[in-house]
């Protein structure tokens, strides 16, 4: 990315949303916690492995989320099916009760 052309820098100081902070906290636990499961280079590889259209479309912490899911699936901590089932549970709950 360094050296590529781009527009002006947007200096808006945006506060991070609660869910973004939780992704960051989760990454800290997974990378530096007592039960660390991955390292920061793997996090970055997961981001760089995203399909270019996904990379463009997704926000910063959305990319982190996808990377963590892909890397941990790759390591066999859970299966893609388990994640799909859990996501359906979360989504159903949110539709009924709203996001926590």
């Amino acid at each position: 990315m360094g050296g590529l052309e781009a527009g002006p820098v947007d200096l808006t100081e945006a506060a991070y949303a609660p869910w973004q902070k939780r992704v960051k906290a989760l990454a800290l636990l997974l990378i530096r916690g007592d039960k660390a499961q991955m390292n920061v280079d793997e996090l970055r590889r997961g981001i760089e492995d995203l399909a270019p259209e996904d990379y463009e479309r997704l926000g910063y912490y959305e990319r982190w989320t996808r990377s963590i899911a892909d890397i941990l699936t790759e390591k066999g901590l859970f299966t893609a099916e388990e994640l799909t089932v859990k996501m359906a549970e979360v989504e159903k709950r949110w539709q009924e009760q709203g996001p926590k």
Binding site: M1, G2, P8, E13, G33, Y61, L77, F78, K100
Partner: protein
């Protein structure tokens, strides 16, 4: 490469992009949520079910992030300005010097680069967003943005001017690209007219952006 930056990305995080609508939940959340937000919560719960994160881990990690602010970096800089021997130790080993001030900035090496009248330093991470979190807290959105990461290495003076920071043509501008294994902090120049200020007062004029290099330290009266 898109010209969008991460703030626009953040706005996009609230759009529907995966083909089906979500109900609005105005009582708890003004924005709809994305597929990846659902995934993030599902990850937390799945890892918890499997015993890979324990109860309380998430709140400790959230507390850790919340406890890191640029005030620690500012305290370190103010000590450098008032104590040349400390400044020298910072030049040798920032992590050890920070520990003298009871700051735990982790084990990833941080290198201090000191501004002089002839040399202005500025930080970036072109690969991702590596940043001295232990000293400066969470990085600002623009530090993660494509615009900053792309351009600060090729036209740093133009980018600095967008921050309102004019660097004399006589002064060399050096851009430092951080990595996951090596972070930097800029030690700004102490402004003139601050000779009478206490260390605590000096710390108050050291802003986050001074320590990234996108701003200069200014005296209290400015």
């Amino acid at each position: 490469m898109s010209h969008e930056d991460s703030h626009k990305d953040h706005a996009k995080e609230h759009q529907h992009s995966h083909g089906h609508p979500h109900p609005q939940q105005p009582d708890s959340e003004d924005e709809p949520y994305s597929h990846e937000q659902v995934m993030a919560t599902a990850l937390e719960e799945l890892l918890s079910d499997k015993g890979l994160i324990a109860a309380g881990d998430m709140s400790s990690a959230l507390d850790y992030w919340a406890s890191k602010t640029p005030a620690d970096g500012a305290r370190l800089v103010a000590r450098c300005w008032t104590d040349p021997a400390f400044a020298q130790r910072v030049g040798e080993n920032v992590n050890a010097a920070a520990a003298e001030l009871d700051m735990d900035i982790g084990t990833t090496p941080v290198v201090a680069i000191t501004n002089t009248p002839d040399l202005h330093n500025v930080l970036v991470c072109t690969l991702c967003s590596c940043y001295p979190i232990g000293l400066l807290g969470e990085s600002p959105g623009w530090y993660k943005s494509r615009a900053y990461r792309s351009r600060v290495v090729s036209e740093p003076r133009v980018v600095l001017a967008e921050f309102g920071t004019q660097i004399s043509d006589e002064t060399e501008v050096r851009v430092h690209d951080s990595t996951a294994d090596l972070r930097y902090i800029v030690i700004p120049m102490r402004p003139e007219g601050t000779e009478e200020l206490s260390e605590g007062e000096l710390a108050e004029i050291v802003t986050r952006d001074c320590m990234i290099g996108t701003a200069l330290a200014k005296g209290l009266e400015e």
